[in-house]
Assembly symmetry: C2
């Protein structure tokens, strides 16, 4: 059965592709519609309970709060893990800016949590080839962004013994056998249906999906998964990613068995919304939409105060009278991503929505929290030497 | 101005693409029509004279006999050479069989002549990725064919100091920057127009043309042409190839200036016809159509006697009465490719066409000549050790 339903459609509804996140006019992204359209499964309370049982820990707040909300074959990965079989994590990043922003932290923070919880190897693909093909940048710029972004990623605390980070421009010859195998199984018609590319699009765009698909398969990493391992064809892969990346992996799941591999499993997050509101995501291409890990305390204060869309009253009086509409309030939304303490979050929600807390106050809480995270990140990043970066990106055995 | 006219058309005319050579029903390949359709230029007597002047030698019989018959910018290459500027030769082979056949010798024999005549570096691309995408073979088979074919190529006498042979599966990361630059400049519509691919074709086919185009540019080989050479953008490339490969390079010529490079120049050969006749070429996929460099003397005798299409009379009497029609006679045609002695060839043509020579006699001359070439080749090939092969395929400086 094919899972490759089109990602875009002709009506004026939301458009969610790996390159465009745009809610229906005037609305927020409708995630349930996406689940329906993509054919994935919502993560149930029962599955979260199972997750906690297998890991022996309380579920990450991204799971508890429905930020990672959808999946494919997550139950099978938990079964696989419980029976002691091998699997690995795969995530990635398209380096389109010098520094990561808070939106990028989402998949990486969750991936680090999964790596720690399950003690499995992780591969991280830096798609500098993709960014060159889609953006108006030179190869040299995409390479520079890659190295800067990798330092940011490493600074999040990934285990050097269990993590391999690679850039497509440097690693493509290792991926190429699987790229070719995949590219022999998918035809033009399927690529157009899945990704919505047009006749006037550069041929490079059509050639990229197999490159993002190849790391789903363990034999793309013979230094991590020796080719003579009789179990290599049974090694599974779990991909934590924002749901806009799903089309790549629907395509991959459709053809995995044809090249003798397991389907990759997925766990999908919602988007980290732009400062301006829920209708799109933070974008590295629009600096006013995002807070960067390289921003100064004043820049953070300025961006949140000026740009973070508020669901609070227009005046002190209105806010005291009606309270804030949390469902559109970006400051509150950001706190649900970043504030781990459930009780504190609940208290803020209560006071802000009932008018006992002013917009200025909640924004200050967020500013302080973001600046704390940024300072911690800058300290960690300062310790990432070029040598550490080289080690993470070197072809070597991992220990797991 | 675009040079990308479609390669195929809807009428029942000849179809010449990199994957199919089929004359119009009942006819031979119409080369003048191809020149017209592709927009290349016939090699004139004047250009051959210029060629002889620049090289200081009599032109190769492939040139004199119109076997290499068409070109793009060959005059400019001669000017470039005369003014002392750098250029290189680029040719290739798709390894689809364990051994080369006589058809494959055509571009390589001529390329070796050019390398000797001009003392320039040569790069040879082994497109094992292409063969995997188009043929029903495994990657392992395509790699095995590659190594066997490279030994055959080396045995033709290429200068180890001036020749770099690479396989796409091993060298793709070095080509990838130019592959991406090219793939960003050509859109789907153009690829479909040039190559005639269909919606049901594997996406891998659409992704291959930039891979065959990338070696036209000197910065794909920084070990041969250092990137810090201020003249690197002025280094030109000449491609000796059969005319069916022209679509790749029309595409490349169209976009070369957009990525800051010179257009590749071309010199096109006719096809080495199949034993069965002029309507198609020798094909490694049809063993009865071709004589291989690995064939035994008896196999050669058998193939020529049984399969070489004859323009001679059906009986001794008819041949004596009417003589042979040289224009359809494959044995005679093969001699025009292989017999260097103009006088001897002229004598054979005269006697055979006037009925003084029987089909059996001319076939015996060809059998003896082919077996002589095969024996010489087998002796040369036996001397090509794995070490020599490794050196030709290693990334190293060339001396030129």
């Amino acid at each position: 059965m094919t899972e490759t339903t089109p990602t875009t459609n002709e009506t004026k509804e939301q458009v969610i592709t790996p390159w465009e996140v745009e809610a229906a006019p005037g609305g927020s992204v409708d995630y349930m519609k996406l689940v329906d359209q993509f054919g994935s499964t919502v993560i149930s309370e029962e599955l979260i309970a199972r997750f906690e049982k297998v890991t022996g820990k309380r579920a990450h707040h991204f799971l508890r709060r429905g930020i990672f909300f959808s999946h494919r074959d997550l139950k099978e990965i938990l079964d696989h893990h419980e029976s002691g079989k091998k699997w690995f994590l795969y995530t990635g990043r398209g380096p389109s800016s010098g520094s990561l922003h808070f939106g990028h932290l989402l998949p990486f923070t969750f991936t680090k949590y999964l790596q720690d919880a399950f003690n499995v190897p992780l591969v991280v693909q830096m798609t500098n080839d993709e960014k060159f093909l889609w953006k108006d940048m030179t190869l040299e710029e995409s390479i520079k962004f890659t190295h800067n972004n990798v330092k940011d990623i490493i600074a999040l605390g990934f285990d050097i013994q269990k993590t391999f980070i690679f850039s497509n421009l440097e690693y493509i010859h290792h991926l190429y056998p699987n790229v070719l195998k995949i590219a022999r199984c998918v035809n033009l018609n399927q690529i157009q249906n899945i990704f919505g590319f047009k006749e006037s699009d550069a041929i490079g765009k059509f050639t990229f999906p197999p490159v993002q698909a190849a790391p789903c398969f363990p034999d793309s990493f013979p230094h991590i998964f020796p080719l003579n391992d009789p179990e290599i064809k049974n090694i599974r892969c779990l991909i934590p990613c924002a749901i806009d990346q799903d089309p790549y992996f629907r395509m991959t799941r459709d053809i995995a068995h044809r090249i003798g591999h397991q389907k990759p499993a997925l766990i999908h997050s919602k988007f980290f919304p732009a400062l301006q509101g829920h209708n799109t995501k933070m974008s590295a291409s629009d600096t006013n939409s995002a807070v960067y890990l390289s921003d100064t305390p004043d820049q953070v204060k300025d961006k949140i105060k000026k740009h973070a869309f508020s669901g609070g009253g227009a005046t002190k009086e209105e806010q005291e009278k009606n309270g804030a509409d949390l469902s559109v309030d970006i400051t509150y939304e950001y706190l649900t991503f970043m504030l781990e303490d459930d009780e504190q979050l609940k208290d803020i929600a209560h006071r802000y929505s009932t008018g006992k807390m002013m917009t200025g106050e909640i924004k200050q809480i967020l500013i302080d929290l973001m600046n704390k995270i940024i300072i911690r990140h800058k300290e960690a990043r300062a310790k990432i030497t070029d040598e550490v970066l080289s080690t993470f990106m070197s072809i070597r055995k991992l220990n797991f």
